[in-house]
């Protein structure tokens, strides 16, 4: 989903007529509970696989997808929108004459599937004329008929809409009571029912669930004309509705008083805190620009990891396939061969498509590869990238790392980011202990504004909450803070990472890539980390 579609869904006064086409058709909530029979999916897949083989394809994979989404959008005491959508269809990808071909249809009749397969083979043969070398596919052993499901406790689609509306309106009421001028709160719920089959002999049925509960609380001071907002500190997760259970054990109070969340979220408590903190921001001290030691909470760091490590280690970007849109990467193959020092020895960053509760967790990727975990940066050294089957040979790998994903049955699958996470420090260290030896620092909580160049060198990040640290103590809240980095210098300035007791996940529900654009959801974990001598700017301006 691009920014335009995001605004359409969340925009004030949205009419139902404005549902982005990507989401398919609008349906009733009860239709979110049904599934397509697995035997029928296998039968349809075999139609495509046999048709492909019969028309000269050397490889074929089939994805039958049913993508279900529910959005509940509110502001203050109003429900702005409740939308349930479904998009169902089949995408067929083949290799013929050494080239890829792809076709898709929403018609799930055998005839339509056979026709789409023939179209995919014809496209592959046409594309073969324009390719300089044939596709080389890393081998995958067929796994027969298997299934995988996100390990959820409560299926979000089973929770009545009334309960969801009541929750959000309760959250909004508490925020207003606590002094908020305005609040927008939303539930985004996703269920991807995905069936994959290939000529390698795999028939994989997967049931993937995701949840996101964002909010934005604003306080306005009419006398001064100033307004400030504080977003919620939740993370989108690969979980069921249990993420909103607000378990006390998952609440963490940070030095300075902000409360963050581990594996379950107290949306009401966070709304109340957001109202108070948004009001505090109206009068907080404006930061003095300069070099500071930054202490970054995982609710913030995930986005910095995403932009400055996740994207530059995508092999298609490194090679130049995304040069016209998202860009290339500074982390070139020669740097990898020369054991490039990406970060300090405190920095070990892993890619992991298996991590429970993460947005990117699946059993198998969208080309039937069993998911795995591997190092990208080991003790500061760039050691690997993220690849799919037709890229593995470039790195001399014998198999794909399972990073293939398509956001719809109608989209061609391609390389997408795995969950990419900073590993916790090996020695015991809590945020309270970390703060003690920082003389002149800023503690940043929550993600804010973000921007990075097309090779992922120069980035700028804001945040939600900023605290001044002086001589080992949090002294006061700050405002107008953004920091600018050059990626390798930044990661080499990492001097400490807290232990695994502080490890938490953040993530993005709508990470965009490709032309035409596709979205994916991905998590990034870390413990609180310290970076020395980072350039902080003041973002306050005057319009006169």
């Amino acid at each position: 989903m691009d920014r335009r579609d995001f605004l359409k869904i969340t925009g004030a006064g949205l009419g139902g007529l404005a549902i982005p086409a990507f989401y398919g058709r609008a349906i009733a909530a009860e239709e979110l509970l049904s599934t397509i029979d697995v035997a029928m999916k296998k039968k349809l897949a075999d139609v495509a696989l046999n048709a492909a083989k019969g028309s000269g394809a050397t490889y074929c994979d089939v994805r039958i997808g049913r993508y279900l989404r529910q959005f509940v959008v509110t502001r203050e005491d109003k429900v702005q929108n409740v939308v349930n959508t479904e998009s169902t269809g089949i995408g067929i990808r083949v290799i013929a004459k050494g080239s890829w071909g792809f076709a898709a249809t929403s018609d799930l009749s055998s005839d339509a599937v056979a026709k789409a397969t023939a179209q995919a083979v014809a496209i592959a043969k046409a594309n073969a004329r324009l390719r300089s070398e044939p596709v080389q596919l890393a081998p995958v052993k067929g796994v027969g008929e298997v299934s995988w499901k996100t390990p959820i406790v409560k299926n979000s689609m089973h929770v009545p809409i009334k309960d969801k509306v009541d929750l959000l309106l309760g959250v909004n009421a508490d925020a207003i009571k606590a002094g908020a001028s305005f609040i927008n709160s939303t539930l985004f719920l996703v269920n991807e029912q995905k069936y994959f089959a290939s000529t390698d002999g795999s028939y994989i049925d997967q049931d993937v669930h995701r949840i996101w509960a964002p909010m934005n609380v604003t306080c306005v001071d009419k006398a001064t004309g100033k307004f400030r907002s504080r977003q919620g500190l939740s993370a989108p997760r690969g979980m069921g509705f249990e993420y909103l259970d607000a378990k006390a054990a998952d609440k963490i109070e940070l030095p300075g008083g902000a409360v963050v969340y581990r594996d379950s979220y107290d949306m009401k408590a966070d709304a109340v805190a957001a109202a108070k903190q948004a009001r505090e921001k109206l009068t907080a001290t404006s930061v003095k620009p300069g070099k500071y030691d930054l202490m970054l909470d995982p609710s913030h760091t995930w986005l910095t990891i995403h932009e400055s490590v996740g994207h530059p280690t995508e092999l298609d970007r490194v090679l130049g396939y995304e040069a016209n849109y998202a860009g290339t990467s500074f982390a070139t193959l020669d740097k990898w061969r020369d054991k490039f020092k990406y970060g300090s020895d405190k920095v070990t960053i892993v890619a992991d498509k298996t991590q429970p509760g993460s947005l990117g967790a699946v059993g198998y990727d969208d080309e039937g590869v069993k998911t795995q975990k591997w190092d990208l940066i080991k003790d500061g050294v760039l050691v690997n990238y993220q690849v799919i089957r037709d890229q593995a040979h470039i790195l001399g790998l014998k198999q794909s790392q399972g990073c293939c994903y398509a956001d719809s049955w109608s989209s061609v699958q391609f390389q997408r980011m795995a969950n990419v996470s900073l590993q916790p420090g090996k020695e015991k260290l809590t945020p309270i202990e970390m703060i003690k030896d920082i003389e002149n620092g800023i503690y940043i909580v929550g993600e804010g504004s973000f921007s990075i160049d097309q090779q992922r060198y120069n980035a700028q990040f804001g945040g939600q909450l900023f605290y001044e640290i002086k001589n080992g103590k949090v002294t006061q809240p700050l405002e107008d803070v953004a920091y600018q980095i050059r990626t390798p210098e930044f990661w080499n300035s990492c001097v400490a990472v807290c232990d695994d007791g502080d490890y938490r996940l953040g993530g993005s529900f709508f990470d965009g890539k490709g032309q035409p654009g596709q979205v994916s959801a991905v998590s990034h974990g870390s413990s609180t980390a310290r970076f020395n001598g980072v350039n902080v700017i003041n973002t306050a301006r005057s319009l006169g």
């Binding site: 691009d2 920014r3 335009r4 004030a12 006064g13 009419g15 139902g16 007529l17 404005a18 549902i19 086409a21 058709r25 609008a26 349906i27 009733a28 005491d77 109003k78 429900v79 702005q80 409740v82 792809f102 324009l130 390719r131 809409i161 001028s181 305005f182 306005v220 009419k222 006398a223 004309g225 307004f227 400030r228 907002s229 090679l319 130049g320 396939y321 995304e322 040069a323 016209n324 860009g327 290339t328 109608s410 061609v412 504004s449 973000f450 921007s451 990075i452 160049d453 097309q454 060198y457 120069n458 700028q460 804001g462 107008d480 953004a482 032309q515 035409p516 301006r541 005057s542 319009l543």
Partner: protein, 444 residues
């Protein structure tokens, strides 16, 4: 074939509205045929074609609304989508900001459809790719680009007798060319309604020249510079600023157009008096549909006139609450300029920076519309009216509300499309003083 004629579309919409038992019914039928070709590393990577059509039915019982969608248009399917919308409406909570279906509108057609653009073939797309790849291969340059085209139709109707139908077409082309050693990068983009005005062979020369010309860039210190911004370099900033023109946000005190003490800045002079921006659905270079997402008829609308804020965007609900008239929301932004080209602006510059495009623009502070982003694919130092040498890219932190007060000179507007903007835009090249670059980027 998903492009229905006006008669076919009206018959389908009339059936849906007639079948509805709700208090009100609004229906929209739309369809599109779109094709694209993508290439990278001097090879075609993907090519696609998508054909789709949808009927969306929205009904209301009192203040309860329901919406359902379907992509089959036989009588049984139309009846099922209407019944589904009605069931959803009965289950929905009341919307306190519900607005009844709009009254019958008068839509004066706009020139959004060009037959030649609608007739683009897969062979034409492949030729665009070849026209970019071949000269690059010969010159040891590397092309990555995307060409897409679409023809579509939109038909709207409601139970109050409103009806509109129009076809549209368009094409969008972007191409990035890099030197094979990765030291230079250039870019070209064209967004056009009429493909007859497009010539890939000549466009690619611009990107090739910039790729070669931007290699081995020198570093300048970040700071405030006079900049010559090509149209694509400011389009994203101006488009971003429009989010602050929402009347409700401004009245609620959370926009750069909110007034200290309450109210909004409608009618106030906020920009240099040479800044005039308007919307005009009939503009010959940037025509858009004569209705907006709410089916309200669009009008020629002054947005900023000689630096004065002339327009805030009122939703139908907020207009009613504030006693204002809601008009169709702009689909295009047309900035008035002069006759000079970008190179004319360079010629009149003693010292400055020429910016091809800006990228990854994000809002830093909504209070002042402070935006950050970076220059990309061709940034040059200008001295005594000449491009002297390529310079490294900069990160900027600048507000368009400040930028449009620091204008030195405005050139001739050209049509610009932007991936992240909902508008078709006519934006001139501009010379702007004191543009704030805050750091250097090593990215090429």
């Amino acid at each position: 074939m998903t492009i229905y004629s006006e008669e076919q579309a009206k018959a389908i919409l009339d059936k849906a509205i007639k079948m509805s038992k709700a208090d009100e019914c609004t229906a929209q039928l739309s369809g599109s045929n779109g094709g694209n070709v993508r290439y990278a590393l001097n090879n075609v990577s993907t090519s696609g074609y998508v054909s789709d059509a949808d009927l969306v039915v929205e009904v209301a019982f009192g203040k309860r609304t329901g919406t359902a969608t379907i992509n089959a248009f036989d009588d049984k399917s139309i009846e099922s989508v209407v019944r589904r919308a009605e069931e959803l409406a009965k289950l929905a909570p009341e919307n306190p900001e519900f607005m009844p279906a709009i009254e019958k509108q008068t839509y004066k057609p706009t020139s959004t459809f060009v037959e030649k653009t609608a007739a683009i073939t897969p062979e034409y797309r492949a030729q665009v790719a070849a026209d970019c790849i071949e000269p690059c291969r010969k010159d040891k340059l590397v092309a990555a680009g995307f060409f897409s085209d679409e023809q579509d139709f939109s038909a709207i109707a409601n139970s109050k007798g409103n009806f509109g139908y129009q076809k549209a077409s368009g094409m969008n082309f972007t191409c990035t060319v890099r030197t094979d050693d990765g030291k230079g990068s250039g870019w070209v983009a064209r967004n056009l309604a009429d493909v007859a005005k497009f010539d890939a062979k000549s466009e690619i020369r611009i990107a090739m020249q910039k790729a070669r010309g931007s290699a081995d860039a020198k570093a300048l210190e970040p700071g405030k510079y006079t900049v010559i911004m090509e149209p694509a370099a400011t389009a994203g900033l101006i488009s971003f600023m429009m989010f602050g023109f929402d009347a409700r946000q401004a009245d609620e005190g959370r926009s750069f157009l909110s007034k200290k003490g309450g109210g909004n800045k409608l009618g106030e002079k906020m920009f240099d008096e040479r800044v005039t921006i308007y919307a005009d659905p009939w503009d010959e270079h940037a025509a858009v549909l004569p209705w907006d997402n709410d089916s309200l008829a669009r009008e020629k609308t002054p947005i900023i006139t000689k630096g004065k804020v002339d327009y805030l965007q009122y939703s139908r609900y907020w207009a009613q609450k504030q006693g204002k008239k809601a008009v169709g929301q702009p689909g295009n932004l047309i900035m008035v300029g002069g006759d000079k080209s970008t190179m004319d602006l360079v010629k009149s510059t003693r010292k400055g920076v020429l910016v091809t495009r800006t990228w990854y623009i994000r809002l830093v502070d909504p209070q002042t519309v402070l935006l950050t982003g970076l220059t990309r694919d061709g940034t040059f130092y200008v001295e005594n009216g000449e491009i002297k040498y390529p310079i490294k890219n900069f990160r900027f932190n600048e507000s368009p509300a400040i930028m449009l007060n620091n204008i030195e000179e405005i050139g001739r507007p050209v049509r610009v499309g932007d991936d992240e903007s909902p508008f078709v835009m006519m934006i001139p090249p501009m010379k702007i003083r004191d543009f704030t670059f805050t750091s250097l980027s090593d990215a090429v």
